[in-house]
């Protein structure tokens, strides 16, 4: 075991912290300017600086998917990217999916299929599913399961989550065929 004495801790703590930086994010269509420390994750920026608490902090290590948002149209784990790295990016969170009172088709399908119990993973599930449908790689329920494996639901609502996503996938396909 390392038992080096850490006598310099107090001295180090008096060193001034790096300056915050002003960054611009386009969040759910609105341009926002915020000041962030270098270590502020995109997740913390959304929740703590922009009061968009729909995006959830689950594991904070990229393992659960609760923090999934869309950055420049692609689903990512917002806990594993620094806000300062995303300066200038377009971000879509769960708050940006509905159009007024009209739910996004995936939100509606999650309600119809009872695709949650506690609901904590749901914003990440839905944002991830939006990304999944945009990617157009899933053709079957098996594909949905595989490509949604980055979103964990500890209540175990997976069958209903897959059913909700499949319903929207099928209706989009039909819409595309018309």
């Amino acid at each position: 075991m390392n038992s080096k004495p850490k006598t310099d801790t107090v001295r180090k703590a008096t060193v001034s912290l790096p300056a915050k930086s002003r960054i611009t994010l386009k969040v759910n269509g609105a341009v926002k300017q915020i000041e962030v420390a270098p270590w502020t994750t995109l997740l913390d920026a959304l929740r703590d600086h922009l009061d968009l608490t729909g995006t959830k902090k689950g594991c904070d290590h990229g393992q659960c998917g609760a923090c999934t948002v869309l950055v420049n149209g692609k689903r990512v784990n917002s806990c594993l990217t620094l806000a300062i790295m995303q300066d200038g990016a377009e971000v879509t969170t769960i708050e940006g999916l509905a159009e007024g009172e009209a739910l996004h088709p995936l939100q509606q399908a999650f309600v119809e299929h009872d695709a949650f119990q506690c609901g904590y993973c749901t914003p990440g599930q839905i944002c991830s599913a939006v990304g999944l449908l945009r990617e157009s790689r899933a053709q079957s329920p098996d594909d949905i399961r595989e490509l949604m494996s980055g979103n964990i639901c500890r209540c175990g609502a997976f069958p209903n989550i897959v059913a909700a996503i499949e319903q929207v996938m099928q209706s989009e396909k039909k819409g595309g065929d018309q």
């Binding site: 790096p18 689903r75 806990c79 990617e135």
Partner: protein
């Protein structure tokens, strides 16, 4: 996370200058591993040099008939690239066997090579770990080592390299292009990652002042006969217990060339060209595949919890080679 400063690099020369000027600085690109390690206090860079905006994300043809993957190409973009899917399906399948869709949207080619082990003791700063802190000891050797290495280990470290993509790149004989203060150089994939030896804190032969600019795939991609077989505790979003990248070049019923790389079993993607040569000129047969598997694992050593991997690797090799021979393709 500890305090650090942040700077965005505008081009490769300035990125190299920045990293060479501060030994405690690190490049950041996708960030999916580094930010996690910083949150865990395992890595504590003084300065992050953001290279994610450098123009290194293209996938281009090379003069030699191969492809060059930009170091910043996202895992998703490589895996779903049409030419990769057609000419190097082994690579595409290996990438898609790893991580989650979100992580693949963030993670880059270069970052995949540079990711650290997922050994739980490396992550746990309360325990000794020679990789995290040299000369403190290895907690895994006599600890919980179910996921650990069985080949190429040392008394100092039995960690594994966690990548799927790198297993395919090893089988494909990829070449890593890097740039440092003294200019450009190329590193054969087999020489890029290191065995732990007595310096398990050093994962790769990339200099601290060098940057990966791209990974080159040779012209031969084994599109006809290949398999990426990944065995893990759950069927998606888990690291490999054992993975096998198998590629065969066949002439009729005869194997002209065989490539085998193993993941999840060593500190680097494991190749054994002597064992591979046993298949040259043979017809594909279960007996020969078994013989190759035995040869590949002849020096394997289990540490208790992970001893099952020796037999698992053998059966995985036989299955992957069988799949490759009959063009079944993938796991």
């Amino acid at each position: 996370m500890n305090s650090f400063t942040y700077t965005r690099a505008d081009d490769v020369p300035s990125a190299v200058r920045e990293v060479a000027a501060d030994g405690a600085s690190k490049f950041i690109a996708g960030g999916t591993n580094l930010i996690d390690l910083m949150k865990e206090n395992v890595m504590r860079p003084s300065r992050l040099i953001d290279i994610s905006h450098l123009a290194l994300n293209e996938i281009n043809s090379t003069a030699g008939g191969g492809l060059r993957l930009g170091a910043l190409a996202k895992n998703t973009d490589v895996a779903y690239n049409e030419e990769i899917e057609q000419r190097y399906p082994l690579l595409s399948k290996a990438i898609l066997a790893g991580a989650s869709a979100q992580l693949r949207n963030m993670a880059t080619v270069g970052g995949n090579l540079m990711q650290r082990t997922r050994c739980c003791y490396f992550y746990d700063t309360a325990t000794p770990c020679n990789k995290r802190e040299p000369e403190t000891g290895c907690s895994a050797i006599a600890g919980f080592n179910r996921g650990h290495a069985i080949l190429g280990t040392s008394v100092h470290c039995i960690a594994t390299h966690p990548s799927d993509m790198c297993v395919a790149l090893a089988a494909l004989d990829a070449v890593v292009h890097v740039t440092g203060p003294k200019g450009k150089r190329s590193i054969n994939f087999a020489e890029f990652h290191r065995l732990p030896g007595d310096t398990p804190n050093i994962d790769t032969n990339l200099g601290a002042d060098e940057i990966i600019t791209g990974v080159e795939l040779p012209a031969e991609g084994f599109p006809e006969h290949h398999s990426y077989l990944k065995v893990r505790d759950r069927t998606s979003y888990a690291f490999a217990l054992v993975s096998v990248a198998a590629a065969l070049e066949m002439e009729g019923e005869t194997i002209k060339e065989a490539r085998l790389a193993l993941g999840g079993v060593a500190h680097k993607p494991w190749r054994d060209q002597q064992a591979e040569k046993l298949l040259s000129g043979q017809g594909p047969s279960r007996e020969d595949f078994q013989q190759v598997a035995e040869a590949l694992l002849r020096d394997a050593k289990g540490y208790g919890h992970n001893s099952f991997k020796i037999e698992l690797a053998k059966v995985a090799i036989v299955r992957a080679l069988s799949q490759a021979a009959i063009r079944e393709g993938h796991s």
